[in-house]
């Protein structure tokens, strides 16, 4: 068996250290093919809503699924040919099963789930799996296991969202949970990589800031959906500021900015008063300047951002390596295994975007950004279509956090903004990050289902109205008392 493998490897790739026609040929072709696949996928993302019919949309989603399978297939094939490790093929099979379970799970349990959102999530996860596996197969397997666990767990979340009508009223529970988690970790923190709040329990390192991302949004949503008076905004601000403050103290600047942005956006949309975000941005800017002068770790990042080559030996090293990688990749990338992403520090985590740029190329990376943008648009769209103000704000807050996180990590890696040390959701290696993002998407999917419930109610009411047009009293028909649109799943007609 081994001999056959080696033969195949030699035939397709040649010896690892020398030049070989076959290796070059396959890799050269593969990089164009990868870009072709992701362009198709992205195109489908943005044509989905232009399709008017359900059939048209299903075709688009189906095309994405086909692309995903080809993408993973090609990626893992190259990894297999370069490493000769049979585990890679098992991994590929696992990924295919994962696709099927995730899609069927969402489809059968929640007939109204947004398959576009599911597809985007799976595509981003796949890009992550391939890039991480190319860097470190062991990490990729770990990532896959956690993603699978998260996926199974996430099937429960829409049920919880739908059944737990008490969720909008647990305002202070969220605040206490969030602050307690952050404070507890700050006290016990084992600082890893200079800027990560994490705590090890039974060998598993959990980053609580990832989970607090969710509780903070729930707190703000619960607080502002009930009352948008000045007093309520002030209380919300104080609690949010405590969250952000603890994070700044524990040097997790990226998450602090994510929290801050979510807070600003949620307050703005809930109150619809421009003065709040303007005051918030002003305060945030002042706080940023103060942080620059107060904390050495903030200053370092700014110095490294201005010119990483000047401080190459110290704080500039990481960003310089990332820039070398992005530059080396060019538009089409070097091809898998033809770059040197292993020289980028924390390549599989905070700097995974640089590794992707290097081996998959800039065009691929741009498509990746467009997919992330599509995720955000989908989430905001869901939020806009919700009618319950609490869930509206939750979806918007989570979407904002996602968008800001993507912006911070990609902007930081490319030296567009100072590096804040944060992961690229779903793509970067990191159990807590991938778990929390899958949960966030599950929550949003849960909301999406609620939205669809509301949509159905609306449709039905419209029909009633048409039916009863001749009768003036039919204008105000007696509807079901459940005006929040939170009717239980059993009342939803199944497709």
């Amino acid at each position: 068996m081994n001999i056959i493998l080696r033969e195949a490897q030699n035939y397709l790739l040649g010896a690892k250290d020398g030049m070989s026609e076959g290796m070059n040929l396959l890799t050269q072709l593969s990089r164009v093919f990868f870009i072709f696949l992701i362009l198709i996928f992205t195109l489908q993302d943005y044509t989905y809503y232009r399709k008017k019919t359900q059939e048209g949309r299903e075709r688009v989603a189906h095309r994405q699924v086909v692309v995903m399978h080809f993408f993973s297939g090609l990626g893992f094939l190259l990894i297999f040919l370069n490493t000769g490790n049979l585990l890679v093929l098992v991994f590929l099979a696992g990924v295919y099963i994962f696709y099927s379970v995730a899609r069927n799970g969402y489809m059968s349990m929640y007939s109204k789930a947004s398959m576009l959102l599911v597809n985007n999530m799976l595509m981003l996860l796949s890009i992550g799996f391939i890039m991480i596996a190319r860097l470190n197969l062991e990490e990729a397997v770990k990532q896959f296991i956690i993603a699978s666990a998260g996926m199974v767990f996430s099937f429960l979340i829409p049920v919880i969202v739908r059944k737990m009508k008490i969720l909008p009223r647990l305002t202070w529970l969220y605040a206490i949970l969030g602050i307690a988690a952050l404070l507890g970790v700050l006290a016990l923190a084992t600082v890893s990589g200079g800027a990560k709040l994490s705590i090890s329990i039974a060998g598993i390192t959990i980053q609580f800031s990832e989970l607090v991302k969710i509780t903070l949004v729930f707190f703000i949503a619960a607080s502002l959906s009930r009352d948008t008076s000045f007093r309520s905004v002030v209380i919300t601000t104080i609690v949010a500021a405590i969250h952000v403050g603890i994070l700044v103290l524990s040097t997790d600047l990226g998450t602090a900015v994510v929290f801050f942005a979510a807070y600003i956006v949620m307050v703005f949309v809930a109150t619809r008063k421009a003065v709040y975000p303007l005051a918030g941005l002003l305060g945030g800017s002042l706080a940023a300047v103060a942080a620059y002068f107060l904390f050495a770790h903030v200053r370092q990042r700014v110095i490294a951002w201005k010119d990483p080559l000047v401080v190459y030996d110290t704080s500039g090293y990481q960003i310089a390596q990332a820039l070398f990688a992005i530059g080396a990749g060019g538009w089409l990338g070097t091809g898998l295994y033809y770059g040197r992403p292993e020289t980028i520090p924390v390549a599989s985590k905070d700097f995974i975007f640089a590794a992707i740029c290097e081996e998959f190329g800039c065009l691929f990376a741009i498509s990746l950004i467009l997919i992330c943008m599509n995720m955000f648009i989908l989430i905001v769209n869901i939020s806009m279509q919700m009618r319950n103000p609490f869930y509206k704000l939750v979806a918007l807050g989570l979407g904002t956090e996602y968008a800001v996180q993507v912006f911070l990590t990609i902007g930081g890696v490319t030296k567009f903004i100072p590096m804040t040390g944060i992961t690229l959701p779903l793509v970067s290696y990191g159990g807590s990050s991938v778990m929390s993002t899958i949960i966030v998407i599950a929550i949003i999917q849960g909301l999406y289902i609620l939205r669809e419930d509301e949509g159905e109610e609306l449709e039905r009411r419209k029909e009633e109205k048409i039916r009863g047009r001749s009768d003036p009293t039919a204008d105000w028909p007696g509807g079901p008392g459940d005006h929040e649109g939170e009717r239980s799943a059993s009342q939803i007609p199944r497709r």
């Binding site: 030049m19 070989s20 026609e21 070059n24 809503y49 703005f268 949309v269 619809r272 008063k273 421009a274 003065v275 709040y276 080559l309 310089a320 820039l323 070398f324 990688a325 992005i326 530059g327 080396a328 060019g330 538009w331 770059g339 040197r340 020289t343 740029c357 800039c362 990376a365 741009i366 950004i369 467009l370 943008m373 955000f376 648009i377 905001v380 769209n381 939020s383 806009m384 279509q385 009618r387 509206k392 918007l396 904002t400 968008a403 993507v406 912006f407 990609i410 902007g411 490319t414 030296k415 567009f416 949509g455 419209k462 109205k465 003036p472 204008d475 105000w476 007696g478 509807g479 005006h483």
Partner: protein
């Protein structure tokens, strides 16, 4: 029942208002446009109102909201805000300002909500969403834009000597050649019968520091042009064919500004002295020659590496031209003279009687060899390189003025330089004592400068005060010559005024015509310059003297700037001036 139903419905209508267009389409009808801020509804809600009263507040039982386009007259009259009802109808004055005759619910409303001030800018919820979405989409688009921009402008990063990634390119590209400005090959890659690549430097030691080496790390042009040398711009189709055939493409050729003949002359002229010679074109900034000794053979550097780095002197690898820091000695008098001109506007009217020594507190300034120069004007003092006169000038100017001029001439500052270099040092402060100020004025006491820096100052004088950005590379071409990228000369900036440059030029002419560089007078070409004899303490405690010369030829329209430093070469006139002489001769005898 019906009443509470109405209230609930009105609440839901508020929420409908927040729906997107998309949702409107899905629902298949136009949504009610009443907003949450609609005061009559709010008021009705606040009062816990129901049914009849609520409708009373509305004016009457208006029919449910529908698409106004398709409704009958009764409906239109009930909803005048849609613009279908006749002007002046019962609700024409809905906002309370226009003269409507009908009942206006606003006017009848309790003061409680009428007085509620619209605090801040009030934004519809849909608008808030749209705004937030666009802000974030803009952020994503900016990110993409930046990434595209970076990909077009990544050269600077790519060329960084820290970037080791380029080396992996050598798997697919054969390192390109390096030529001098007359197409003499300075470095090339040959392939032996076993397919091994060997980097060959035909001039051996001569260009050791300027061109550098490419194994055991990289230096010189090999380092700064690494990216271009490993990038092929040959015919696109040829490259594709080569890639599939598994044949390496040839990297681009780097054509330097160096002149092998001039380099040879400078290299030979410096002889066995340790030190450096730099030749610049003052108008273009081109580096024509750059010699540093002791040197090494880049052909055998890999084999010699251990010997070179374990050498106790350990300095063959140091490029003395750009990295060697030496006391400037009398060449610094150029700076002091400029400082004097900046303070007094002219050198006229200056006179000094030199007795060969000057006592400052408990320190005694000596002129070289204790010569007493007698009565001197400024030009004489400069030409004779009179330490006593310049000590007196320095004390008169004070540390602030000297520091200002030195900093303008880039002492202690970053220099425009492609190679590794050291910043010059200048330590004068307001607290410096008199002796230190005096010594600084004639180039001793802690001031350190590289020959390269001295060449920059001299070339600015030769180019009317304008310093050109020095460059070692003239152009990059593909190996088949189909692609050419010229590196045009750039101005760095004026570091002195034209008048000051001309005045310094006149002083430097005097040095040649009647002063310490007399050897350079009466030649077929004219020369201006300044000598230096810089004292330093050797490792055995003895006092040695570095020999300096900084000058340029063809004074009216200077051709080349030559700076020579010979370590422990004695007075400038004795060693450095003859070296410069040989370089000038080589330039004009070609």
């Amino acid at each position: 029942m019906r009443e509470s139903e109405a209230l609930r419905r009105s609440r839901e209508d508020d929420l409908y208002d927040d729906e997107s267009e998309l949702y409107n389409k899905r629902a298949g009808r136009a949504m009610s446009r009443r907003t949450v801020s609609d005061p009559e509804i709010r008021e009705a809600r606040r009062r816990g109102d129901s049914g009849a009263e609520y409708r009373e507040a509305l004016g009457r039982n208006r029919p449910r909201r529908m698409d106004p386009d398709n409704q009958g007259p009764e409906y239109r009259e009930a909803y005048p805000e849609d613009g279908y009802a006749a002007v002046g109808g019962p609700y024409a004055g809905r906002d309370g300002s226009s003269p409507g005759s009908g009942r206006n619910p606003y006017e009848e409303a309790p003061e409680e909500w009428q007085s509620e001030p619209p605090s801040g800018i009030h934004i519809r919820k849909g608008a808030a969403y749209t705004f937030v979405s666009y802000v974030f989409i803009l952020m994503f688009v900016t990110l993409i834009g930046y990434l595209v921009y970076f990909n077009f402008h990544s050269d600077k990063v790519q060329n960084s000597p820290y970037n080791r990634r380029q080396d992996s390119q050598s798997t697919y590209v054969r390192r390109g050649d390096i030529l001098d400005s007359k197409n003499n090959v300075i470095a090339t890659t040959q392939v032996d019968e076993n397919g091994n690549e060997i980097r060959v430097y035909p001039y051996s030691n001569m260009f050791a520091h300027a061109i550098g080496y490419s194994t055991n790390g990289k230096s010189g042009v090999e380092s700064i042009m690494n990216y271009d040398l490993l990038t092929s711009h040959d015919n696109f189709l040829d490259r594709i064919v080569n890639e599939f055939r598994g044949v390496k493409n040839k990297g681009d050729t780097v054509v330097t500004t160096l002149d092998a003949d001039l380099q040879q002359a400078a290299y030979n002229a410096l002889g066995d002295y340790q030190g450096a010679v730099i030749v610049l074109d003052p108008h273009l900034g081109s580096v024509l020659a750059m010699v540093s000794k002791p040197d090494f053979d880049p052909n055998t550097i890999a084999a010699d590496w251990e010997t070179i780095i374990s050498d106790p002197a350990g300095s063959q690898l140091v490029n003395r031209a750009t990295q060697g820091l030496y006391p400037p000695g009398s060449t610094y008098k150029i700076v002091t003279a400029l400082s004097y001109m900046q303070r007094y506007g002219t050198t006229d009217g200056f006179s000094y009687n030199c007795g060969g020594e000057l006592v400052i507190d408990d320190y005694v300034v000596h002129c070289y060899d204790g010569t007493a120069h007698g009565e001197e004007n400024f030009g004489n003092a400069f030409a004779n390189s009179c330490n006593c006169a310049f000590a007196a000038i320095g004390l008169g100017l004070g540390p602030a003025q000297l520091t200002k001029t030195s900093e303008e001439l880039l002492f202690g500052k970053e220099l425009p330089c492609e190679l590794h270099y050291n910043k010059s040092r200048f330590n004068l402060t307001a607290e410096s004592d008199q002796a230190t100020i005096a010594q600084t004025a004639f180039g001793q006491a802690g001031t350190l400068v590289t020959p390269y820096h001295m060449a920059l100052i001299t070339s600015a004088i030769a180019n009317r005060g304008m310093l050109m950005q020095p460059q070692l590379v003239g152009r990059v071409t593909s190996s088949d010559g189909t692609y050419v990228e010229n590196r045009n000369s750039k101005e760095f900036g004026a570091i002195m005024t034209e008048a000051e440059a001309e005045a310094l030029k006149a002083l430097m002419c005097q040095v040649v015509n009647e002063g310490t560089a007399g050897e350079l007078s009466g030649l077929p070409y004219s020369v201006a310059g300044k000598t230096g004899s810089a004292e330093y303490t050797m490792s055995d405690g003895q006092i040695g003297t570095h020999s300096w010369f900084a000058g340029f030829s063809n004074v009216e329209d200077p051709d080349i700037v030559v700076v020579v430093l010979a370590e422990n070469g004695g007075p400038g006139s004795q060693t450095a001036v003859p070296v410069a002489h040989a370089v000038f001769d080589a330039y004009y005898n070609k």
